[in-house]
Structures are given as structure tokens and as C-alpha cells.
């Protein structure tokens, strides 16, 4: 659902519920709010990576004499590594861009984007330097997902 609904709607709904549940202005609440936004993306990526092709490879490993531990280490782990990496980085990226929900639920917890954003306005040079900071996670995400796409599962 959070994938389909506009972020402001999700954020407003979350804020109301968190006030009722007493989670507002707490670290736990902040983590929960971010998970709400991040989980759908991560789940989509993981579902693709943990599909029938992986169980096919695992069956191959089983029939060729790999014990459960070796199978995990030699077949499963390297096969899903790129997927896990991509999910991790994309999850971080989504969380990084959660400006609204951090502001609404976080109650002033100092998150990097929140702290940095005010500096963007006054000085174009600072803004330019900061934009590099903002673009860095995105670039990293691009590199990792590109690698994952080269060894698709």
C-alpha cells in the first residue's frame, strides 16, 4: 500500500496513529515510519531474488552432494548476494529521502537530510557542495543494482 499511496497521505496517517499510540517523537516511531516506506521496495526486490530460480539452484546443490551448510555457503549465499546488496542500498536510499516523515514523526531527531536541508537555501555554493552529498547514496545504489542486474537470478 505505501507504494501506491502518495507519501504525504501515508505520512499524515502515520503521524495520527503514532500520536495515539504514543510513538510520536521517539526513535522507535521514527524507525517504524521509515520501515513503512522502505519495506515495500525491499520486499519487491527480495521476492524477485528468492524466486523459483534460487530453489532450482538449491535443489541442484542438494542432488550433487552438498550438505545443508555448504549449500548455504556455496550456492544460496553467493546467488542472493547481489540481490541482498541491491535491497540494502535501495532501502537506505528510500530511508535517506524520507524528509517528510522524519520531520513529521521524528520530533526533531537529528537526521542527516533534516540537518543539511536548511543550508541549501542561503548559499548556492554550499548548496552545490551539499547536492554532491545527496547524490552520493543514489550513485552508490546505482552501482550496486547495476552489478545485481548483471548476475540476475
Amino acid at each position: 500500500m505505501p507504494l501506491l499511496v502518495p507519501p504525504y497521505a501515508t505520512g499524515a496517517g502515520l503521524a495520527e496513529w503514532f500520536i495515539r499510540l504514543g510513538l510520536i517523537d521517539s526513535l522507535a516511531g521514527l524507525v517504524l515510519a521509515h520501515l513503512t516506506a522502505v519495506a515495500p521496495y525491499v520486499v519487491l526486490i527480495l521476492v524477485a531474488g528468492f524466486g523459483p530460480k534460487l530453489s532450482g539452484l538449491e535443489d541442484m546443490g542438494r542432488s550433487l552432494g552438498l550438505s545443508p551448510f555448504r549449500r548455504l555457503w556455496w550456492v544460496t549465499h553467493p546467488s542472493v548476494g547481489p540481490t541482498l546488496g541491491a535491497a540494502l542500498v535501495l532501502g537506505f536510499l528510500i530511508s535517506w529521502s524520507q524528509y517528510g516523515s522524519s520531520l513529521a514523526v521524528g520530533g526533531g531527531t537529528p537526521m542527516a537530510p533534516l540537518v543539511l536541508l536548511p543550508f541549501v537555501r542561503p548559499d548556492p555554493q554550499v548548496a552545490a557542495a551539499l547536492s554532491l552529498v545527496y547524490v552520493l547514496p543514489a550513485l552508490l545504489a546505482l552501482l550496486v543494482t547495476a552489478r545485481a542486474a548483471r548476475s540476475p537470478l
Binding site: M60, L64, G65, P68, W74, V75, S79
Partner: protein, 337 residues
């Protein structure tokens, strides 16, 4: 060297049983082709023997070892699946050596034996290649080399040729036959193609609806089917008739043994004539054959018993023509029962 024996296997991967009391024996050192239509349960049988599917009932024996209950990786069985299932992060050699690594063999031995396996399948200089750049046929060969590297007591191949184009298919079929013969490896090959089954197997087992219905040498299945269902799967037309002195029964005759003759004792109408490249396939509607003595009238065209005949293109009649047909008595096979 050990033979495979499945006794009364019942397996239900979903809600309904797919194997229903299936029994099959593959004698030590021989190759059996398991053939059947899609959905008959061939792959389920393979998975059950490999230990990837739980048995509801029955026993699996390999030589004098009882396999059901043994973990898959301790069964000493190697499987070549329909797709190659190679590990993309390893080189060709490391893929082939995977079973040796599982057995904890030292690096030097792994290298030489993987190289030997690759040479056996004709990919001697592929050891250091990445898996990703290989063609489908090459990948499937690598998978065969990997299975052989495991030195299994039983080799099972699940439609290994299905993803390949006709020429490569022929190459891989020869390779499988040669390797199996050289090593005298007990082998079970699954296929849905009856011609492929006949080419591959010393013996062919036909599986219908979760059971083995006939297990025999290939020629027997094509020429002496044990039931109408077997005849239908192997493309043998079945006609009702009456043999002199033996009473009425159902007879099977191979399409290539049906002879056309203008003075033939049977009359037939050609319903369809299809040119297939090697011959013309005729669908014939017999007139009056197979009906009892009280009904000698000619059934309307298309309603009588049907027969298939393969004839040389030069001598083929056209659709709609009426012709005479001879069914040579020595070629007719009376279905039991």
C-alpha cells in the same frame, strides 16, 4: 554398480497424488527412457528418487541401499535438470568441480578431474571461461560434466534436450548415450517425445497418470502396445476387427505398415493428406470394417474407424479419394484384453 528399484511409490506434491503406486526397475548399468505426456508425473518421480519430494508411501532402492529417508546429498545420485542450473559466479571448471568440493577433495584433484570431465563432453578448453558467455548447448554439456564428476551410482536427466535446437540435440543425445555406455552408468532419462525415448533408451518406460503402464524395449512399445492408451501415445492407430478363427478384437498397426492397393480387401476414404517432409500422412476412414455381421452397411464418410497410413509422396492419393487398403496380417498386433 547398482540398479534402481522404485516400489509402489505414492507422492502428492500438492493436494492430489501425482504418483499413484508407481513401480519401476532400472537394471544396473542400463539406460531407461521414461516417457509420458506432460503432467504424467515424470519430473515428480525424478524429484522423489532424488529426495527432493517427500514420499507418502513406497520404497526407493539403489542396489542394496534403501534410499527413502536418506538425505538428498547422501544418496549418491546426480541429476541433470531441464535447465543447466550452473552457478553464475563460478568459472566453468569450478561449476564442474562442485560435487568434488562437496566431497572435500583437494584442489589439485578437483582441477584434473574437472578438466577430464570437460574433455569427456568435448569442452576441453572451456575450463577458465565464465558460465555467462556459453550457449545453451554448452551450458547443458557443462551440467552433464558436473553430474559425471560426482561419480554417482545413478544418473537422472530431466528432459536434457528440450531446450536445444535439433542439431545440438542430436549431438547431446549421442554424448549421453556414449558416456552412459562407456561408464555403464545406471541412467534414467525423462522425455515427453516418443521418438527421442526410442533413440535414447535401451528400454523405454511409458508413464501415464502416475503409473508405469509398459516398460519394454522401444520396438515393443511402438509395435506391440499393451493397451489402447499405450498405442495412442506411441501414435499407433487402433482398429476394431475380426481375426480369422480368433474372434473379434482390437488391433494396432503402425502407419508405415498400412499398404494401399486398388484391389485391397478394405475400402477407405482419404480424409486428410498431409505432407510432412519424409512422407505423406494419410488419415483414412474405413468403410464397413469392424462392424458386426448384422451391420455391413457403409458408415457415412468420417464416421467409421479411422486409420493412419504413411506413404511415399509420389504415390499419395488426395483428400477425398476412395482407395483400397491392405493390412498385412503379420503386422497386425492384437491388443490384449
Amino acid at each position: 554398480m547398482s540398479g534402481l528399484a522404485c516400489r509402489e511409490l505414492t507422492v502428492s506434491p500438492g493436494a492430489d497424488p501425482v504418483l499413484r503406486g508407481l513401480s519401476l526397475e532400472v537394471p544396473a548399468g542400463s539406460l531407461t527412457a521414461l516417457v509420458g505426456p506432460s503432467g504424467a508425473g515424470k519430473t515428480t518421480l525424478l524429484r522423489a528418487v532424488a529426495g527432493l519430494e517427500r514420499l507418502d508411501a513406497g520404497e526407493v532402492w539403489l542396489g542394496d541401499r534403501r534410499l527413502d529417508g536418506v538425505a538428498p546429498h547422501r544418496r549418491r545420485i546426480a541429476v541433470v535438470f531441464q535447465e543447466p542450473r550452473l552457478l553464475p559466479h563460478l568459472s566453468v571448471e569450478d561449476n564442474v568441480a562442485l560435487p568434488l568440493r562437496a566431497a572435500g577433495r583437494p584442489r589439485e584433484e578437483r582441477r584434473t578431474r574437472a578438466q577430464g570431465g570437460l574433455e569427456e563432453v568435448g569442452l576441453g578448453d572451456f575450463a577458465d571461461r565464465r558460465v555467462r558467455g556459453l550457449s545453451g548447448g554448452e551450458q547443458q554439456r557443462v551440467a552433464v560434466a558436473r553430474a559425471l564428476c560426482a561419480e554417482p551410482d545413478l544418473l537422472m536427466l530431466d528432459e536434457p534436450l528440450v531446450a536445444l535446437d535439433p542439431n545440438r540435440r542430436e549431438d547431446l543425445r549421442r554424448l549421453i548415450a556414449r558416456v552412459q555406455a562407456e561408464r555403464r552408468l545406471t541412467t534414467l532419462v525423462i522425455t515427453h517425445d516418443r521418438a527421442e525415448a526410442a533413440e535414447l533408451g535401451e528400454r523405454v518406460a511409458l508413464m501415464l497418470e502416475g503409473r508405469i503402464v509398459q516398460h519394454d524395449e522401444p520396438r515393443a512399445l511402438f509395435e506391440r502396445p499393451g493397451s489402447e492408451a499405450v498405442a495412442r501415445f506411441f501414435g499407433v492407430p487402433v482398429v476394431p476387427g475380426e481375426a480369422v478363427g480368433a474372434g473379434p478384437g482390437t488391433f494396432a498397426i503402425r502407419p508405415e505398415h498400412v499398404e494401399l492397393a486398388s484391389d485391397g480387401p478394405l475400402r477407405a476414404t482419404v480424409l486428410e493428406a498431409v505432407y510432412t517432409g519424409a512422407h505423406v500422412r494419410l488419415t483414412l476412414a474405413l468403410e464397413g470394417a469392424g462392424t458386426g455381421p448384422e451391420d455391413r452397411g457403409t458408415p457415412p464418410a468420417g464416421r467409421g474407424p479411422k486409420l493412419e497410413a504413411w506413404v511415399a509422396p509420389a504415390r499419395a492419393p488426395r483428400a477425398g479419394e476412395r482407395i483400397g487398403v491392405t493390412l498385412p496380417a503379420e503386422r497386425l498386433w492384437r491388443l490384449p484384453g
